[in-house]
Every structure is written in C-alpha cells, then in structure tokens.
C-alpha cells in the first residue's frame, strides 16, 4: 500500500515537472502519410494547441516546426498526443527548451550516453522513447537500452534524449 502511495506521489511530482517543461520549438517528422490533406490535418491539429505561435510545414518531407509562446508548460508528450489525434505517428521529434529545465529535472529527462552540457541557455534534444521515433528504430533502441529500467518502463512523462546541437 505504502509503495503504491509512493509511486503515486512520484508520478504527481513528475507530472508537475512536465508541466513546467517550457518547450520553445519542436521539429516533428510525421510518419504514415504522403498526402496534403493528411498533412493539413496535422497542421490544423498542431495549430489548435493553446500557446502555439506558428507552425511551419514542409509538405514533401512531412516535417512540422512548431514555435510556442514563452512560459508555456508543455513537455514533449503534447506533440505525440496531437499527432496521434490527427491519425498519424511521430518518426522524429527534436525539442528546443531551456538547458536549466533539462538539467534540473534529471529524473524526467534522462540522457542516452554521455551528457556534458556547456554554457548554452537552450538545448535541442531528440527524444528516443516509444512513439517519438519510428517503430523500427524503437525496436532497435529497446534492445540497446534493455538494461535501462526507465526506458523499458515506458512512462509517458519520462524522456530519454540525445543532444542535437552539440
């Protein structure tokens, strides 16, 4: 009973952290589509998120760059949820967010491999959890990271990342 209570508390805390993630920019590669009507469904879905400033689209590569207003409270899962609502999936997600948020929330943002951030104020990180990379890539990574308990636990508010802008 105590352990359930403890897990519940940890989850609540993690969710609270996620709510202060402050993603400034998200570069999304969507999978499973090749038509402009499908792309438009994703574009409209992403544009409907409160706090989204603008969405840029490359129709030929199905890449969406989402710019968010400052002081939003979104974590990377907002993009997964919305792409899937439109009927598609994420093939790649790179989010740009304050380096301090990544560093201070080490239980939520877990680096794959060596993580030695410099003095940058912002980090662009690529997420490697299930639903943030293609299904083929996920199969590969789940083998590579089989011993990483947080990766195999598939918690929706824990993100495993690599830095993109180093």
């Amino acid at each position: 009973m105590k352990s359930i209570f403890f897990i519940a508390i940890v989850n609540v805390l993690l969710t609270m952290n996620a709510s202060f993630a402050q993603v400034r920019k998200a570069e999304i590669l969507a999978t499973g589509l090749t038509c402009s009507m499908c792309s438009n469904a994703i574009y409209k879905q992403l544009s409907s998120i409160t706090g989204v400033d603008s969405v840029l689209t490359d129709l030929n590569t199905n890449t969406f760059t989402v710019f968010l207003k400052p002081d939003n409270k979104y974590a990377p899962n907002i993009f997964k949820e919305n792409i899937e609502k439109a009927g598609f999936f994420i093939g790649s997600l790179i989010v740009t967010m304050p380096a301090s948020v990544v560093k201070e929330n080490a239980t939520q943002f877990i680096p794959i491999g060596k993580f030695s951030p410099g003095e940058e104020k912002e980090l662009a990180i690529k997420i490697f959890d299930e639903g943030y990379i293609t299904q083929k890539e996920y199969k590969k990574w789940s083998k590579t990271l089989a011993s990483v308990e947080t990766y195999s636990s598939k918690k929706s508010n824990i993100f495993h990342f690599k830095i993109e802008n180093k």
Binding site: L33, T34, S36, N40, K44, S48, N60, F89, G91
Partner: protein
C-alpha cells in the same frame, strides 16, 4: 485472362510506385482525425436495365472522429425510384482502427467496421446493398497499405439483408446473406512535388468490388475507375464510372457514374 493480368499488373506496379486511399466506394483502414467533422454528398446515376431511365441516388453523410482510432458516420438515402426524390432510409456506421504500423512515407493499417441500415424502398434485385437499397447490417475488416504515392486497400465483409419495413418483406426465394470483397488501388498523379496546401491534388483510382451470395453462390464483380480532386487540402471531388465485369445475379442498375463532394471541418481552434 486479360482481367487477371491487369489486376496482377496493378499489384506489380504499385510495389514500385509507392497516396491515396480516400476511395470512392470503399473506406480505408485509416480513420478521420479526432474531433474533426466531415460532410459528404454522394450522388450516383445508374442506368436501369429492366426498364427505361436512370436510377439516381443521393446520400448525404456526416462523419465524426471520436478519437484517434474510432469514427462514426450517419448517412441518409434518397432516390428517384418512386419517380420523385424520396427519403428511403438511413444508416449508422462505426469504424475502429485496431492496428497501425507506420513508417516514413508508408503505413499498413487494419480496421473493423459495422453498418446498420434501415430502408423502406421496394426490394427489386438479388444484389444485397445496405448502402441505399436494403435494411440490414454489414460487418467487415479493412487492410490498407500506403507506400509513397500509392495506396492499396482490401475489404472483406459479411452483409445481411432484412425486411424493408413497413411495406416490403425480404423475398423468401432470395438469398439474404452475402460475402463482399474488394480491392482498391489509388495513386497521387499530381503534383509531383508539393508547394503548398492550396495546390489541387489529382488522384487516380481503380476499385474491384465483388459480392457472392451465401447459399446460391450467385456472384458479381464490378470495376470502378475514378479521378479525384483534392482542393485546398480540405475538400474532395470524386468522378467515377462503375461497370459490371461479371454477374450471374439479378441487378436492376449495375452500370453508372458517381459524383461526390466532400468537405472536412478540421478541429476548430480553441
């Protein structure tokens, strides 16, 4: 033999060519975006073969994406069979996508669907069609593969007709259960490279639609060729011709054209 070669040829080409799965007659395994509403006006004009004239059907439909995997559709059926445009019935349809394997520029998806229809028109043919002719239900599975600019889809379903109440009892001499099967091919022809959402897309489609009645094994196979325009990445116009390729069952109007209009209201901005 030529027909078989043609079908095999389509399979062969599609493995190289690579979107278009918004078919004229059948549904793809993909669903509507959650929260979006879609209005479709289906019109068909088929030539009567047992009497003079044409059979016109008008079917307004409203679809709604309940969540990412589940959609719902309500349709009403109007036709000119009684010499004026008459509301003959309606149907409710649900589709559930239960499998998705997506990759960059491709996907394979599977869905299950069910339709319940009411119709009060006279029963005038052996063909069972719960979309606009018979009361009854249909349960089916859809398999759709999209690779680059080409979509392939196949459907298998069980359809059962009941009485067209209040006036028309399903004839005892007719078979009231059928197995339906279809194969659809669609390809994006234009544009070669996208520039904006405003660009009109042109899709070419072929569908093969078959039905075999369960007891007497009477069968028909139809071919449909269609050109589809996607306008403003939000609306759709289909122009299609359907022709019976083989049939040994009584059908009152198997050959004709479709002209459909569709508009999607994507999720509104909060």
């Amino acid at each position: 033999m030529k027909k078989y070669l043609f079908v095999i040829g389509l399979f062969f080409c599609s493995s190289f060519l690579g979107a278009q799965e918004l078919f004229v007659v059948t549904d793809p395994a993909s669903n509507m975006p959650a929260g979006s509403t879609n209005i479709r006006l289906t019109q068909s004009l088929f030539k009567e073969i047992l009497e003079e004239g044409y059979n016109y059907h008008f079917m307004p439909e409203v679809s709604y994406g309940i969540n990412k995997n589940l959609m719902f559709r309500a349709a009403s059926f109007l036709s000119n069979r009684s010499n004026k445009l008459y509301l003959e019935g309606g149907s409710l349809f649900v589709k559930y996508r239960f499998f998705s394997s997506d990759d960059i520029h491709s996907h394979f998806r599977m869905a299950a669907y069910g339709r319940l229809s009411k119709n009060r028109a006279d029963i005038h043919q052996e063909q069972i069609e719960t979309m606009g002719h018979n009361s009854g239900y249909e349960l089916g599975l859809i398999f759709t593969k999209l690779v680059h600019k080409t979509a392939l889809s196949s459907t298998i379903s069980l359809e059962k007709a009941t009485d067209n109440n209040p006036s028309y009892v399903f004839p005892e001499t007719q078979d009231n259960t059928a197995l339906n099967y279809s194969f659809s091919w669609g390809r994006l022809m234009y544009p070669k490279t996208y520039k904006s959402y405003k660009q009109t897309n042109i899709n070419l489609m072929f569908e093969f639609l078959g039905q075999t009645l369960s007891d007497n094994r009477k069968t028909f196979i139809d071919g449909t060729a269609a050109i589809q325009f996607i306008v403003n990445s939000q609306s759709r116009i289909d122009l299609a011709y359907r022709k019976s390729l083989f049939s040994n069952m009584l059908r009152s109007a198997p050959n004709g054209i479709y002209l459909n209009f569709e508009y999607t209201f994507f999720k509104f901005k909060k």
